[in-house]
Subunit: 285 residues, 2 copies
């Protein structure tokens, strides 16, 4: 993809969760596969932005003109402050906003709670030709759901299989699924929360509940480990991205998207009309 | 707003449709209010991007933390190739995608046609704290609706009032409405359509139907004039932006957004918790 100069190993390879993967072993300050530092990362991100923009436009165009049913779904999961928002801002801002569909999943509403946990998720999957980004997702229902015991153990158990089935169907209908967990250390999180407390322009991002969630981090780590063990599938792989260095996390997600789009072998759709004939009509108009 | 060095008159003043406005009198190559050329416009657009990003974040933050119900709706109308897509790409890309809601209105579906024309529109108005962008809108129902006689003259008549009432309600619920028509000349449109025919990466943006629409341009101009005459209100003003020069149109829309947000007197919401207390809790966690 022309960016190989900085990558010894593609992120899809370096970050992919495989059998035997242990979250506790991940060094959150590491930069797997990337051989540069922050300044190389900035260059690489800018180069990647142009590449990603063209690929996204081809995905969109293929649907507009050729009814190509394919789409991409990027699932972002992370502890508070790990940088989901920054990924959206710094990676996705490179592409045409009209080709991206965002969905943020917060605490479910009464209406949503009255339905199966996948009901609200299914309503927000990306349309054909689009890149969908889930800021949190159905995985909350087996993460906070498990840690805070919002559902019975039997129901949580059932959900892993339900998720796998749901994602298999999505994949079968032409969705490339990329599941990302941004992983930061407790120390890094403390610093970032402190920053939010110290800056008046960041107060709105802080909630006292963030500290309660933070104290539950070990339980979340366990819950994530089960998620990886149970929902890592060939059609919906997980990638765990060390995220103490924001520049690495952004670059890695961008690269994962580029790899996924390149694997789709996109191109500009062929005209369905006679170009010369249309030129004559246009001239005469 | 710190950008006055290039503007002799604010776009909200220079471009606003007032009583007696005549679309036919607009010079599509003009750059009302702006004193620079293309390169000054680029500098100005970059400066404006940072300003817009902060204002949008304050709008979003005010809703997240303070339940501020306010929101902004930017309505974009134009002939084909006038640059709606470019506005979204080059102006809106400056702000956090999570704070923007796009809605594109194409030919209505069977389901939509079975309802009042405002039904599908009402479903897509921006949520509190968001900037909504309509790529085409309810105005299509009195533009193509009138030109192609898709509804009876009585129904078209009824719609102007229905639109005014709908927009008055939106405004009353805290929506700042900015209605923009991008205006290009027939010659400029011919060049841009030709460009789409000549470039394989643009073929997908062309449809033979574009030429039929083009031939109806005089009728569309008339229909737009009626729109301006009937739906220009204090709470939902129209701005006609000469758009033969893309750089001017983008800058003007960006400036209109900035002016609208500045008029809302936004600021960072105050913390609803005791900052020092939270710091101690965080340190101990």
């Amino acid at each position: 993809m022309g960016l190989e100069k900085y990558w010894a190993t593609d992120p899809s390879d370096a970050l992919r969760v495989r059998q035997g993967f242990t979250l506790a072993d991940v060094d959150t300050r590491s930069t797997p596969g990337f051989e540069g530092g922050k300044s190389e990362a900035e260059t690489s991100l800018a180069d990647g932005a142009s590449i990603l923009a063209v690929l996204q436009e081809q995905l969109f165009a293929g649907n507009q003109m050729g009814d190509d049913p394919r789409r991409v779904l990027l699932v972002l999961q992370a502890m508070d402050t790990a940088g989901k928002g920054g990924i959206v801002k710094h990676v996705m801002s490179a592409v045409d906003p009209q080709g991206v569909q965002y969905a943020t999943f917060k605490q479910p509403t009464e209406e949503e709670l009255a339905q199966d946990f996948l009901w609200r998720i299914a309503k927000r999957v990306p349309d054909a030709g689009m890149i969908g980004v889930f800021d949190r997702s159905h995985y909350e229902d087996v993460l906070i759901g498990k840690v805070r015991e919002l559902a019975s153990p039997e129901e949580i158990e059932r959900r892993y299989d339900a998720i796998n089935e749901f994602e298999a169907e999505l994949a079968a209908s032409g969705t490339t699924i990329i599941k990302v967990m941004l992983h930061i250390s407790m120390e890094e999180q403390k610093e970032r929360l402190l920053d939010r407390l110290e800056r008046p322009d960041k107060h709105w991002k802080f909630s006292p509940g963030d500290i309660e969630e933070r104290m539950l981090a070990p339980k979340y780590q366990e819950a994530y480990q089960v998620v990886f063990d149970r929902t890592t599938t060939p059609h919906a792989p997980w990638y765990v991205i060390p995220a103490d260095r924001k520049w690495y996390a952004r670059l890695a997600v961008q690269h994962l998207l580029i790899e996924a789009l390149e694997a789709m072998r996109l191109d500009w759709p062929l005209a369905t009309f006679d170009i010369e004939e249309q030129k004559l009509r246009l001239e005469a108009s």
